[in-house]
Symmetry: C2
Subunit: 108 residues, 2 copies
DNA sequence: TCCGTTGCTACAATTATCGTAGCGATACGC
DNA sequence: GCGTATCGCTACGATAATTGTAGCAACGGA
């Protein structure tokens, strides 16, 4: 990967139209993105606590996702360490809350 | 990939806990999953129309996602051809509708 | 100083996705 | 029948993303 730093280097990813909803669906469609937001829905977590919460996912991807989510303004790194949702990120997370009930109803 | 047919063959994917919400977040976190549901939100689309709607995404992945989404009960293949959302899939899609407004508000 | 934890990175191996091409089946007009 | 067009779907090599393991520098207690 093009080791994005600062500016968003998009290689083959979707959302070539630039429409906000497409960019958002593309970002959230990356692996662990939704899961990270979900796990941060409560209190902030340290990078390692987050990794534990995410089934010991590879730190490489977690860091990549955290960087992307931070650039998107959904996640922030607190002063005393630990990742948490921004106000914007919390609003986004609220959008997904109905998913919980849906999921329970879904798997019979 | 293990060419899943009938039963769900999960290789390295997340959601090892089996909790419905995790399975759902995992499924929706695959590439083009969210986008497919989004594009099918209106009328049913043929596989090729769907491909066009999804920025000419590779048919390989689209078919894989469609199979998964069908097994999940969100998408169905109509009698006269064309993919559409099931009742369940439509409910799921409704959950994402607030995302549209959020996305517009998001990108300044 | 020695531990322990923080956020974060390197690197090779494994998967997933891409892009192009093409299949069998079906439905048309001729 | 014959060609043509579409349908859903698949093969396959090339490329990009993800995994798993190991480890870094920085900071804080003991």
């Amino acid at each position: 990967m093009a080791k994005q730093a600062g500016t968003t280097t998009r290689s083959v990813r979707g959302s070539r139209t630039g429409r906000p909803i497409m960019v958002l669906l593309d970002l959230l469609g990356r692996r662990w993105s939704l899961r990270i937001l979900w796990e941060l829905r409560g209190e902030p977590l340290t990078s390692r606590a987050l990794r534990t919460a995410c089934d010991e996912a590879s730190p490489t991807v977690l860091q990549a996702r955290l960087t992307e989510l931070r650039e998107a303004g959904f996640v922030e790194l607190g002063d005393g360490g630990g990742y948490g949702l921004t106000t914007l990120g919390r609003e986004l997370c609220e959008t997904f809350m109905p998913l919980h009930r849906f999921a329970e109803r879904w798997k019979r």
